[in-house]
Symmetry: C2
Subunit: 112 residues, 2 copies
Amino acid sequence: MKWSELSDNWCPVARTLSIVGDRWTLLILRDCFLGLSRFEQFIESSGMTRHILAERLKRLVEAGILERRQYSDGPKRYDYVLTDKGQELAPALMTLRDWGKRHMPVRRATAG
Amino acid sequence: MKWSELSDNWCPVARTLSIVGDRWTLLILRDCFLGLSRFEQFIESSGMTRHILAERLKRLVEAGILERRQYSDGPKRYDYVLTDKGQELAPALMTLRDWGKRHMPVRRATAG
DNA sequence: CCCATAAGTTTCGTTTTGGAACTATGGCAA
DNA sequence: TTGCCATAGTTCCAAAACGAAACTTATGGG
């Protein structure tokens, strides 16, 4: 079965995962909840490639989870902010965070 | 950045996602919460390939989320059950389910 | 004119995935 | 004792996704 076919699955968990159930997407949303909104910020914070970030942002906007917003008119620049629909993913992020805190202790530092 | 490097990230959300943040893994866990435990059951319920299922089960066992348990001694057969650590992912599954119910309505039936 | 900033896009080699066939183990029945 | 079934995997190959890095587009400033 193709992953994309999951968006019409009977199970609401599966339908949710058809959007956020991949490597990186939930990390972008985490960054949004931390207050980040710009392309370069997501790149720096998450460590994903520009290539993939661009594709994920497009999907999140199409899904109505993020909104692409022009924030500069000089050189036209855009950033991404959570919609109401996106905001409502907060509980999901929080439960994943809580589980991680309890069950996934850090073994060694991420960087020096 | 490689996905596997995420397991030592400072952020507990990222560390959690280093295990469950891929296509399919959370669906396996959903099935476990629905009472399924056998290889063939996961295959039938989720629609993923045997190949990927085998790999994901191995990772979940290594992570201490599932336990591989012999359930038959005639032909030796094994199934998979949630550990306490795995059980504690229930809130995460429930928040994803609730969000899906609210924001991801079914467009058409999955099958005829 | 040249450099910097910032949001992307393109290219290309590597890794992961999907699909389907195949393997291993043992029960059961003719 | 042979052959078929069930079940948990493994193997193989082509297709899709991904990572890394260079390139593009648009504008402002020295």
